[in-house]
């Protein structure tokens, strides 16, 4: 597909429009409805009035308030509208909310024919047989119906390799956040694509967002580290900073940093602080000016418990962490998490629960402490080492360095479907439930960091009276889904 070598360089107008014409709009028939980019931008400007993601999130950051972000995705437009309006009207989500909307996985793999069959099937069965909304099949006018039905900023999860057409349609519909990822997508959702190819695809998405921004529709694409649910905090931050730099090069001016968390209060807060700090620092250092970052939390991405009561605990604790950390974006999973795509009732319940967490604890913050500083220092050391090595090996080019790092085996994490991942890393939880490297593989952890992790694991070993090993790794994967 892509033969050129990758580089962290802004797409020229010429390239952008060539790709747009040849590779993107032609993917499916609905591409033709958005041929005129100027018109799309003008329409988006109007449609997103009063519910712009970037403006609302930056405002929340300034004011120290929170935005609750439920998720939703169903096969048919009417289900989408029904769900969105239900939650908005039943929960008081407006105005301090936003939406994280999903396409189905066929769409995310460009299997539009399968998605079409899924739409038909859903109509026939009278329920959603797809795990999200097939935006490409439905096209921009349908998407605009959703925009109009909601009072809130909309983000569309445009990921899984090539989501360029989905991005085009979402932004043309007045949704004000797509996804600007890269390594994240490979690790979470891919098997064979190369990182270089993924980066090239995502450069387009980023450049597209930047064009809308430049055209007067502020954008806040999501820079995420949702990953597999079982990754080191340092790896998360590394993913964020590298993605930040790549998106900034394309002209993106505001990014939402959606961090998958491990549910260890101190470690998660430390991780997010390090990410945010280094996103600013590295962008500034590489000459990208005026780029803003808004930090957020995506609830634990590992296995959830299959019962309401335990899920309620998960929802609460996953909300308590951003609250105590003071991170404005609180994405929500719901009580249906272990079973099926969220129902509207489930999302409403989850919004109400999280909202009340904010009512009772929303202004409380974790105090500064030596323990938090230490956790931050350890993560920062890990992330800086990886970033510097990337820049070094890539001759100052983050994209090149990233690709080389994966190929050389020192950019690594655990249990991903992605075949190019080295897969030597093993992680377990320590005595406080923080995530630690049992085996760092070829990740160039500074000796100090490595020792810190091993010492923490040793604490657990002595508490539990057994050695950390593969069995413990497997058990830990399921620690939060177990019922008594």
């Amino acid at each position: 597909m892509f033969t050129e070598k990758v580089a962290n360089k802004r797409l020229t107008d010429e390239e952008f429009f060539r790709i747009r014409r040849e590779e993107v709009l032609s993917q499916w028939e609905t591409g033709k409805d958005i041929e005129n980019l100027q018109e799309c931008i003008a329409a988006a400007k109007e449609l997103s009035e009063g519910k712009n993601h970037a403006l609302r999130f930056l405002e929340a950051k300034r004011n120290g308030t929170f935005i609750l972000i439920p998720q939703f995705g169903r096969a048919l437009t009417e289900y989408m509208i029904e769900g969105i309006t239900y939650v908005e009207s039943e929960t008081g989500l407006v105005p301090d909310g936003a939406w994280n909307l999903y396409s189905d996985s066929y769409t995310r793999k460009k299997e539009f024919r399968k998605a079409a069959a899924g739409i038909e099937r859903s109509r026939k069965e009278g329920m959603s047989m797809l795990n999200g909304w097939p935006i490409v099949n439905f096209g921009v006018e349908e998407a605009r119906k959703i925009t109009k039905a909601s009072k809130l900023p909309l983000h569309f999860v445009t990921c899984d390799e090539d989501a360029r057409l989905a991005s085009e349609i979402a932004l043309a519909a007045g949704w004000t956040a797509n996804s600007v990822t890269s390594l994240q997508e490979c690790i979470s959702h891919s098997t064979t694509i190369t990182l270089a190819d993924e980066i090239r695809l995502m450069q387009y998405d980023a450049r597209l967002a930047a064009r809308y921004q430049e055209g007067g529709v502020p954008q806040c694409p999501w820079n995420t580290s949702h990953l597999t649910g079982y990754d080191s905090p340092g790896y998360h931050s590394f993913v964020h900073v590298s993605e930040a730099v790549l998106a900034a090069e394309q002209g993106v001016k505001c990014q939402f940093l959606s961090h998958g968390i491990g549910m260890n209060l101190l470690q998660d807060i430390a991780m997010i602080r390090v990410s945010e700090k280094l996103c600013y620092e590295y962008c500034a250092r590489m000459g990208y000016e005026g780029v803003e970052f808004v930090a957020g939390v995506f609830p634990f991405l590992g296995a959830w418990p299959p019962r309401d009561d335990e899920s309620n605990a998960m929802i609460a604790w996953n909300a308590a962490i951003p609250a105590l950390g003071g991170f404005p974006g609180m994405i929500l999973k719901c009580q249906d998490e272990a079973f099926a795509t969220p129902t509207k009732e489930g999302m409403a319940r989850s919004v109400r629960l999280a909202r009340h967490m904010l009512t009772v604890m929303g202004s409380q913050r974790i105090p500064e402490s030596a323990a938090l500083r230490q956790e931050e220092a350890m993560i920062e050391l890990e992330v800086r080492t990886l970033l510097e090595k990337c820049l070094e090996i890539g001759d100052g080019d983050m994209a090149v360095g990233l690709c080389k790092g994966v190929a050389a085996g020192w950019v690594d994490t655990m249990v991903t479907p992605w075949r190019h991942n080295p897969g030597k890393v093993l992680l377990v939880r320590d005595a406080q439930g923080a995530v630690r490297y049992l085996d760092a593989g070829n990740v160039p952890l500074p000796a100090e960091v490595k020792q810190y992790h091993l010492a923490k694991i040793a604490e657990r070993e002595s508490r539990d009276g057994r050695k950390a090993n593969m069995d413990m790794v497997v058990e830990d994967l399921q620690f939060a889904s177990k019922l008594p």
Binding site: S105, G118, M129, A340, T416, P417
Partner: protein, 143 residues
């Protein structure tokens, strides 16, 4: 008959990227003595069949987590039959349906998978031990 004489192919079907369940299952079945081939994630139907032929497998365990398992599994039994694997055991497991209304109507799910020619279908609350026990019973292994 012993578990070591039996071979199992495991993978996650369709465009599904979830592979932790299959990975955990593989470890469990291997520990129980089975020969196991893990195909990874996003595995097309053809690849399941080819791997089963290649490894002389006795069972194919299809994992599906992302909610479109019903759509992805349709036709797999036919492909097996065509390839001469008429009697190979077919299990499915995970979160096989997207809407909660269907997912929580398990008799309906079982009916559908039976109609599709699957021998068993499991929710994601199944334990590895339960899967091992079912395989042993279906494959006539002394336990």
């Amino acid at each position: 008959m012993q578990a070591a004489d039996k071979h199992i192919v495991i993978g996650t079907i369709g465009s599904d990227a979830h592979m932790i369940g299959a990975w955990v299952l593989q470890k469990g079945l291997a520990a129980a003595g089975f020969g196991v081939t893990l195909l990874g994630a996003a595995v097309p139907q053809e690849e399941f069949v080819n791997a089963a032929i290649e490894t002389h497998a006795d069972a194919i365990l299809v994992s599906s987590l992302y909610g479109m398992g019903i759509l992805d599994c349709e036709g797999l039994r036919d492909k097996c039959v065509e390839a001469g694997l008429k009697n190979i055991l077919l299990y499915a497991g995970g979160n096989v349906a997207a809407p909660l209304e269907l997912q929580s109507n398990w008799p309906e799910i079982e009916k559908r998978f039976t109609e599709m020619g699957f021998n068993r279908v499991y929710r994601n609350t199944v334990t590895v031990n339960e899967v091992v026990a079912a395989l042993k019973s279906d494959l006539g292994i002394d336990s």
